[in-house]
């Protein structure tokens, strides 16, 4: 168990702010979608961001943020396997959870390389395979995309995405916007969910 001083949560006021913020974001994306002609190239971006922001807000309420992340990764980005890695504040242990039917061999690889996956890049750096070829370490693990996330200004974990669905040729600008949203909100949502439900999910000690 980790001590209370290590654990992370956010105040009730911050929790309310986060819920309000995600609510405003989703309303804004919907408004932008309505204002644009149907065939405008940004329609897809606003519709998917609307759905993602709304899903995260609902997940904080229901205490199921990890499931929301897997849903966004699977249904809005189009990846078959997603894993969430969270480090303790002392960075001495990494907890994992994989999406449904996550390949056990791959989980083992993640466990062995977890710290490096999280530390590989600066806190706000999104890795997308095929556009960020210089990160050969992440590519060598078969990762299609990786985003870090932070709590209290410290990098505390990463989300890794594997195996694009067969109809997807690669990740694009719309996906990058979704990854950026997850990069910004995953940490606060996990902490907010803990504050709201007075517990962390069984697989992780924040």
């Amino acid at each position: 168990m980790i001590s209370k001083s290590e654990s992370i949560s956010i105040s009730q006021a911050s929790l309310a702010d986060l819920e309000r913020n995600l609510g405003s974001l989703s309303s804004q994306y919907m408004r932008w979608s309505v204002e644009l002609p149907l065939n405008h190239e940004k329609q897809t971006v606003w519709a998917r961001l609307y759905s993602a922001a709304n899903t995260l807000r609902q997940a904080v309420r229901e205490g199921a943020v990890e499931n929301a992340i897997f849903e966004i990764g699977s249904n809005l980005i189009g990846c078959e396997q997603i894993a969430l890695l969270v480090t303790t504040k002392k960075q001495d242990r990494v907890d994992f959870i994989g999406s449904a039917e996550f390949d056990p061999k791959r989980l083992d690889t993640l466990q062995r390389n977890a710290k490096r996956i999280i530390e590989e890049a600066p806190a706000d750096s999104i890795f997308i395979e095929a556009t960020d070829k210089d990160r050969s370490f992440l590519s060598s693990l078969g990762i299609s995309a990786r985003i870090p996330f932070s709590l209290d200004s410290a990098t505390r974990g990463a989300i890794v995405f594997f195996d694009l669905l067969p109809q997807r040729k690669g990740l694009d600008a719309v996906d990058r916007e979704l990854l950026q949203l997850l990069c910004t909100y995953t940490g606060p949502c996990l902490a907010a969910s803990k504050t709201k439900h007075q517990k962390t999910p069984g697989w992780v000690q924040l």
Partner: protein, 140 residues
């Protein structure tokens, strides 16, 4: 009143007479479908979260079009589609499958189960509205 406005009103009146059944266990997909169709059309929407509920709602609500996921709890989209086609009133209702897997064998399985068309995830909201409009305008 301009002709354009008249045409627009005529189209709206027609749209509001049509009902669409949206079926998906994924809230992210349902959110996109619902938002795009509510904000960009006037169709009445009915929602279901699995295949079994979809069959029940299709029988009760008699929708003009069904948009249905494939992988769902209780009853998958293919089985739900077959079940719907057994009911006389649902035999000609367009069913569009929403599938994660765009491979040909998966699409063939959808057509064999009785669906009319398919779209792949991640959903492209604008494309979805165009396909739905296409089917429902053909119905008049």
């Amino acid at each position: 009143m301009s002709n354009t406005h008249y045409e627009s009103q005529k189209k709206t009146t027609r749209q509001s007479d049509h009902k669409i059944l949206l079926v998906d266990d994924s809230s992210t997909t349902l959110l996109i479908e619902e938002m795009m169709l509510r904000q960009h059309t006037q169709y009445e929407l009915v929602l279901a979260r699995d295949g079994k509920e979809a069959v029940e709602k299709a029988i009760a609500e008699q929708p003009n079009l069904i948009l249905m996921d494939v992988i769902m709890p209780r009853m998958n989209g293919f089985d739900a589609c077959r079940e719907m086609r057994r009911h006389e009133a649902l035999r000609k209702v367009p069913i569009i499958m929403v599938t994660s897997r765009g491979e040909s064998y998966n699409i063939e399985q959808g057509f064999e189960s009785g669906c009319n068309d398919y779209v792949t995830k991640p959903i492209d909201g604008a494309e979805l509205v165009e396909i739905v409009n296409g089917y429902l305008m053909a119905q008049g």
